[in-house]
């Protein structure tokens, strides 16, 4: 019928015009951003990366002038989200949180078959540095880190140690500890996340847990759990009474988890500069500082080249331990 055909043609024409108008959209740094931007978190909602992301996004978007939509792309320890980011258009409208050394190990582990290499991302600015911590049940027999390592040496592969994931910073930390105390061998058990560690340790199923300060510091403060050491160069401001590994004689056992924002390779330099500025301002904002303090997440702002350098150095270090983790006889 002619009228039907005419109607359809008209509708299609309108639709097409609308589309074309949108295509010739803005693309210079001065106009950036002209619409909402996406901030991807490679972990499910509610985790500490997610919490920190939402806090900074809420503050940064006022600066940016456009909504920052936090998008969760969890799965496979971050691999799903980072794969997504590596394939996104580098126009500045898609950025994401990268977690180190998790990202490093995903790239380095050949079994993971990661679709991207280390240079697929341009690190913009780091937000959080959560130091590693070794903790036990309050009534556990181990009184110090040395006690624990000695026990692991005397009964190799009998003392169970929990991580929050394979090739996580916790996993690598256990290997560093074994390296620093030759002969000590832990029975490594990979759990999924801090909550699983809590049940396992409190229930007495596993002897010791390696995790990060942000997840457990409150319970250590209340005495429900006991921390043997913080794996950082200085004491955590959240747990000033807990000794650091260098203090205890193990200066090589340094482990932490950092979370920062990155963009896909190829994003134009002026846009990168602008984003760095916006987020730096947001992270230094007193409200941001306060909320992060409440969440137990230690700020360590590294911008641009400083962050990129950190990323590269960590990559090299992670390569060594990833190799070792895969070839370790007791896994």
């Amino acid at each position: 019928m002619t009228t039907l055909r005419n109607r359809i043609t008209l509708a299609l024409g309108i639709a097409l015009t609308a589309l074309i108008v949108q295509v010739t959209g803005p693309s210079t740094a001065a106009d950036f951003p002209a619409r909402p931007v996406q901030l991807m978190v490679a972990y499910p909602a509610g985790g500490s990366t997610d919490v920190a992301a939402r806090i900074v996004a809420a503050i940064a978007e006022k600066q940016l002038g456009q909504t920052i939509v936090v998008v969760n792309r969890g799965g496979a320890g971050g691999q799903v989200g980072w794969t997504d980011m590596s394939r996104a258009r580098p126009d500045g409208y898609y950025m994401g949180f990268i977690n180190l050394p998790a990202l490093n190990t995903v790239i380095l582990d050949p079994e993971r078959k990661a679709a991207f290499k280390a240079d697929a991302f341009v690190p913009l600015i780091n937000q959080v540095l959560d130091p590693g911590i070794i903790w036990i049940k309050a009534d556990s027999p181990y009184k110090s880190l040395k006690d624990l390592l000695e026990a692991a040496k005397r009964a190799p592969n009998k003392i169970s140690a929990a991580t929050t994931g394979i090739l996580s910073d916790d996993h690598l930390a256990i290997l560093m500890a074994e390296e620093a105390y030759p002969g000590a061998i832990f029975r490594i058990v990979h759990l999924e996340g801090g909550a699983a560690q809590l049940t396992a340790i409190l229930g007495g199923h596993i002897d010791v847990a390696f995790d990060n300060v942000g997840s457990v510091y409150r319970r250590v403060r209340t005495g429900e759990l006991r921390a043997l050491a913080v794996m950082d160069t200085r004491r955590s401001s959240f747990l000033p009474d807990v000794p650091t590994t260098p203090e205890l004689g193990f200066p090589t056992v340094i482990s932490n988890s950092t979370r920062g924002i990155a963009v896909p390779k190829g994003t134009p330099a002026p846009i990168i500069k602008k984003l760095e500025q916006v987020f730096k301002k947001a992270m230094e904002d007193p409200e941001h500082v306060k909320k992060m303090e409440e969440a137990g997440l230690a700020l360590k702002i590294m911008v641009g080249e400083e962050y990129a350098k950190y990323y590269r150095e960590l990559h090299a270090k992670a390569a060594k331990y990833t190799d070792w983790a895969r070839n370790r006889p007791h896994k």
Binding site: A15, Q22, G25, Y93
Partner: protein
């Protein structure tokens, strides 16, 4: 119905064979214990055996298939296929033209295929189902919906 079950059993057998092949490629066992292929391999072997068993049972008429016959309504299946094609196209378009335009095309298409002839209703539903829904859920409730490459 018996034919249908036989077809299903064969399909399952093929699926299990695929899983057997794929898990064989992953290591079944190494120095550290069962490998990633271990459980899927043995599960699919068990499945394949069961599928053959079911085929044998069907052949010997030992399965209670009830009294209902397997009937495909010609016209109905045609509609279902049309709807499915529409869904696939709309899904493929989601990231290209965005939710709103994709649904603006899909909803009227569905209604027309299913026999609605009142143009006014079709258009209203189309707009409500695309732009209206988008507004309520994306703008008001902040539910993630595809924005398309043009960002809208």
């Amino acid at each position: 119905m018996k034919r249908g079950w036989q077809a299903a059993a064969v399909a399952l057998l093929v699926t299990f064979a695929f899983f057997i092949f794929e898990s064989w490629q992953l290591s079944l066992r190494d120095t550290l214990g069962p490998g990633p292929g271990f459980f899927p391999f043995w599960l699919s072997v068990l499945g394949a055996v069961l599928a053959v068993f079911l085929l044998a049972q069907l052949h010997l008429n030992r399965v209670d298939l009830g009294t209902e016959a397997l009937v495909f309504d010609r016209a109905g299946v045609r509609n279902a296929v049309l709807v499915l094609v529409g869904l696939i196209v709309a899904t493929a378009l989601l990231d290209v033209v965005g939710f709103r335009f994709s649904m603006l095309l899909l909803i009227p298409y569905l209604l027309l295929v299913l026999g609605v002839r009142n143009w006014v209703t079709v258009v209203i539903c189309g707009v409500a189902g695309s732009f209206g829904v988008y507004y309520v859920f994306f703008d008001l409730l902040k539910v993630p919906l595809p924005a398309g490459i043009f960002g809208f």
